[in-house]
Amino acid sequence: MFSLLRINTATGETRTEKHTSKDFLLGGRTLSSRLVSREVEATCDALGKKNKLFFCTGALAGTATSSANRLSIGGKSPLTGGIKESNAGGIVGSRMAEQGLRCIVLEDAPAGESGWRVVVIGKDGVKLLDGAFLAGKGVYEKSDLLTAQFGKDAGCITVGPAAEKLLLASGIACSDPHGVCSRYAGRGGLGAVMASKRVIAMVILADGKQKSDFVNKEQFKEESRRVVKMLKDNPVSALFTKYGTAAMVDICQSLRVLPTKNFRHGTMEGAEKINAQTMYDTIKARGGEGKTQHACMLPCAIQCSNVYPDQEGKLLCSPIEYETMALMGSNLCLKNLDTIATMNRIANDAGVDTLDCGAAIAVAMEAGLAEFGDDQAAIGMMEEIRNLSPLGRILGSGCKVAAKVLGVRHAPHVLGQAIPAYEPRGTKGMAMTYLSSPMGADHTFGFTLRDEENPLTKEGKIGLSKKFQVIGSRMDAMGMCNFVRYAVRHDMSPLLNLIKAYYDVDITATEFDDFVKETLRIEHQFNTDAGITALDYRFSETFYDEAQPETGEKMDVTDEESAQARQW
């Protein structure tokens, strides 16, 4: 039996429902996308009262299984106009499980200029408190205030000042294991959706008493240990522990797909200054609070996250991911990790997505507002976003809006969402994935790059992308960290055995993949119903007209081909 807590943000009424279906058992994106599809009118205003915001835990949330506490957040995206699932690490999933909740949904929206609310959920029920004390403050200060009021073990969810002004690139920040709201469901503008309901924070208290009720506890423990061993033995997962995702800088530079100078180039001279080895060496040399490995959720055997310290060894930013190193680094021709970390920190404080804002700043640089490679100008633009200046609001609305306003045709996005850190003309597999994701350009949706024998050709990439759309979506489908997929890529049985031991429910690998494919169908149907057509799944025309200098490649994926990659 799984609980869904409904909170009407207009009336303050709450209601708990019980469900038993496999959708609820799997949780994660399986559940969030189905609920969005069933309950949200596809044509509605994403920032209006008809949209809903779903927070879902996964099938193994609250257990001792490694990397199983992702929080899946779903709704209609104001950035793409389509369906959105964005997930985050942190401790909120654990706290929800302890409260016996599979899903929390924020419904409706107060009329007019209603005050801000903090939703507090605990063993004694739900309270809607005055949230005025958080209004206008950065996420780090909000996080401190929430911790002071509710304790550092509470699972907090909050939004930044960018979301308060309904900027389209605003994300949702969740508590990490240290009680800092630094784990982001960053993509798609879901922060603005939360703020549109005048909810400035949601707190899941650490007073939940719900224990995992295993049908076969001993088998669960055994299978759980097996997953940990697989993760530790897997050479790819093990390297994540040492270098995190930053290792991609060298790989993408070598393959000539490192986004550089507003996605005009695929290599940056001096990329080694911002690569994984430099970051690792810098963190080690500075010591202090710096950490080369760090868990974003507990428990986690991979620990791919990091804590990047300033020159005095004090925490500057945690984490710095490859995508940010590229979109706020090479794509702006910046070669200084301290600059990237500073921009990342400001983004976290403003509550905006580093990819969409990094891409927007590159567009602004191409428009002549600053020189590429100007560290102080880039930091200054992030300050504009945090300070909500007119330019900042434009940049905080993502690269599509920025490009329209600033007169730049080379706008790197699909469905309004910025392209992640793989230049698509140099990797047609990733291009196919970008063009087939119902979420807008998204690399996690189907990561083909490591399996492309010839990244420059589109031949075979429909099938390759679809293969990895399934593999990539499996982890989201049950609320697991995406990096577990390396260990179970060829055999999902360790995770399905855990479900069996926990719930005594048999789900075969085929049935599980059918769930994944059905989720994709549902998501694409939502987008169609929302008015998104095949013609919207395109890059800007410049990607088709202009060759990337390093590879000589233009975008050549046709509408028909990308449509095939969206067929399920």
Binding site: N234, P235, A247, T444, L449, R450
Partner: protein, 72 residues
Amino acid sequence: MVRVTFKLTEVGRVELDLPTPLLFREVLQHCVTRTGYTPGGYIAVRKGKVVSAGDMIEDGDEIDIFPALSGG
């Protein structure tokens, strides 16, 4: 001389004398024999292009081998 560099590992660069061209999978096996290091998933790159197991490797080639990670 063929130079194979295992990036982000302790192994570093391996240099092999190849009297005749060999398939990449054979070159990799020589590296494994020499170093005792077996890469898991990897991406091999020569002059900006991916090298597949069946590609021919010739004297003078320089190949970088990266762990097959991904962004997050």
